[in-house]
């Protein structure tokens, strides 16, 4: 496999918790090049003919297998758009770990726009973990614009964990989902912005099938002069359950705009939204200070717990 330098290895640890080459299927993309790929008996990864991305095909009945598809950008000034399509057969139970890290020490912007599409077959279960991370001291911006499209067939379940805690200057995340009968979608999003970062995160979930269910929970922290816009929309087109929750801590000169929306087009659609924005509760800080923490330490504990 392709040799990686220390920065690249560090990014890989941040975004995929990978300390070594994973077992199972993987596809590493480093600075717009294929840096390593492995297929398993049940999971096949192929490059798209036009070179715009990869297709991941998971055979029906694949259980307890994982796919890792991390992306690393460590050269300043790279801009790329990548299309990755996941075709998950029926009755699977798999874990997909994606993640993108940008290290930009230069003056030019580095940008990765990943478009992920999931086609999840009947009664399959997918756990999707995506971490975004930026580092580097350059003035060039680190930009990540992921679009995730999820198509859940009858009885399938998708659990998504999306985390962006550090170092991404600008992000525009879009997550679109459609659910057929008995399908379930669980989303846990964690966002933190600092400096003058901007993060937009939008969800558009269509509950089309009877007894479909979506639970979208976003927790975020906006520090310093950063800006966040959280746009959570659930549409109920059948007898279904939808719940969204967006819970934010605002600090310093941060700004947060939360735009919840629910649309019910069926009399048995049950949709609930909760949203709260506020600074760290004073009594939480005080409690931890009575345990001997400084105000700063208390703040860090509260935030790291909140974003866990």
């Amino acid at each position: 496999m392709f040799e990686m330098d220390d920065i690249q290895k560090r990014i890989l640890r941040e975004v995929a918790d990978l300390h070594k080459v994973p077992s199972g299927a993987y596809n590493f993309r480093v600075n717009s090049q294929l840096a390593g790929r492995n297929n398993s008996a049940n999971i096949e990864i192929t490059s798209k003919e036009d070179g715009s991305g990869i297709d991941i095909r998971i055979k029906s009945g694949t259980v307890n297998e994982s796919v890792h598809i991390p992306v690393v950008l460590s050269v300043s000034g790279l801009t790329e758009v990548v299309y990755n399509d996941f075709y998950v057969g029926e009755n699977c139970d798999v874990v997909i770990v994606a993640g993108c890290g940008i290290d930009n020490c230069g003056v030019q912007n580095s940008q990765h726009d990943g478009i992920h599409r999931f086609f999840v077959g009947k009664n399959s279960k997918v756990k999707y973990v995506e971490k975004h991370y930026g580092s580097g001291t350059g003035t060039g911006k680190r930009i990540l614009n992921p679009t995730t499209e999820v198509n859940l067939d009858e009885g399938s379940v998708m659990e998504m964990e999306m985390v962006q805690i550090k170092g991404v200057d600008s992000t525009n995340r879009k997550t679109l989902a459609t659910l057929k009968a008995d399908a379930k979608l669980f989303v846990r999003e964690r966002l933190m912005t600092h400096g003058v970062q901007q993060a937009l995160s939008g969800y558009h979930v269509s509950l089309d099938g009877e007894n479909s269910k979506a639970d979208v929970v976003s927790r975020s922290v906006a520090k310093e002069n950063s800006y966040q816009k959280l746009d959570l929309c659930i549409i109920g087109n059948a007898a279904c359950h939808g719940h969204t929750e967006c819970d934010s801590i605002i600090m310093d000169g941060g700004k947060i705009l939360a735009v919840p929306s629910l649309e019910a087009n069926h009399v048995d659609a049950m949709l609930v939204h909760e949203a709260a924005i506020g600074k760290i509760a004073g009594e939480q800080l005080i409690k931890l200070m009575t345990l001997g923490l400084t105000e700063k330490e208390a703040e860090e504990k509260i935030i790291s717990g909140f974003l866990k």
């Binding site: 927790r219 819970d247 509760a281 009594e283 939480q284 005080i286 409690k287 931890l288 200070m289 009575t290 345990l291 001997g292 923490l293 400084t294 105000e295 504990k301 509260i302 790291s304 717990g305 909140f306 974003l307 866990k308």
Partner: protein
């Protein structure tokens, strides 16, 4: 151990000054078990907050082990050995019981030790150790976790603000055992308990009765208790029936 000298605390409520504590003088020696009692709104919790540094007195001095701590922060006082169990414990989204116990202990507390503290407050450790200290916990559970944190903290001077509130009868016995154990195990430590409970009052070395922001009586249980019976300061089981 602790000395309060001429403590006044005034707040400004919609343009008018309200005196909440008026010239409170109190001396607490080492190895004492003190109960502060008094009617609702008499200033007991405010006094506790002033000792812990959460509120600053409008005037007066606080001396702790010979050192003037009047201008010291909450953190500094905690590090000097003042512990405080809140009347209304705080909930935290995301922090687990174990996280809080570990922070309270100020060291790398082991799971075994943490479980020990939970058992002492009557909580089944394995059910609670990884519970988030959020809105899903009941009031009584939260109160017990607050006490477990104090046990892990091992302060020289610990203030409990109405520890019995929300705790059932069975654990009330347990609570008394906990206080006695703390006194035995932390050398030269003292405990201040804010309480309305006759049972607690009767086992105290000393009772302080706060009424309307002033210390009205101070003395041993034997002296004070007869003065309290039948007043609003104290609640025994049959209060409601009388």
């Amino acid at each position: 151990m602790l000395e309060l000298k001429n403590i006044f605390f005034t707040v400004n409520d919609a343009g008018t000054d309200v005196e909440i504590l008026r010239d409170v003088n109190l001396k607490i020696d080492a190895q004492k078990f003190i109960v502060i009692t008094g009617p609702n709104g008499s200033g007991k919790s405010t006094l506790a907050k002033i000792i812990a540094g959460i509120e600053k007195p409008s005037s007066g001095k606080i001396i702790f082990n010979g050192e003037d701590i009047t201008d010291k922060s909450i953190t500094e006082r905690a590090r000097l050995g003042i512990g405080f169990a809140f009347q209304q414990p705080v909930r935290f989204k995301g922090l687990e019981v174990f996280d809080l116990l570990r922070l309270a202990s100020g060291k790398n507390l082991t799971i075994t030790d943490a479980c020990e503290y939970l058992s002492e407050v009557g909580l089944c450790a394995k059910d609670y150790i990884n519970r988030e200290v959020n809105a899903s916990l009941s009031g009584g559970e939260l109160k017990r976790i607050e006490i477990a944190m104090i046990l892990a903290r091992k302060s020289k001077l610990t203030i409990f603000d109405e520890p019995e509130a929300g705790i059932d009868i069975w654990s009330f016995q347990n609570l008394i055992r906990i206080f006695e154990k703390m006194r035995r195990e932390i050398r030269n430590s003292s405990i201040i308990i804010i309480s309305h409970q006759e049972r607690l009052i009767s086992i105290a070395d000393e009772i302080v009765v706060l009424v309307n922001g002033r210390i009205q009586h101070q003395g041993s249980g034997k002296e004070i208790l007869p003065k309290l019976i039948g007043t609003k300061s104290i609640s025994s089981v049959c209060d409601k029936l009388k």
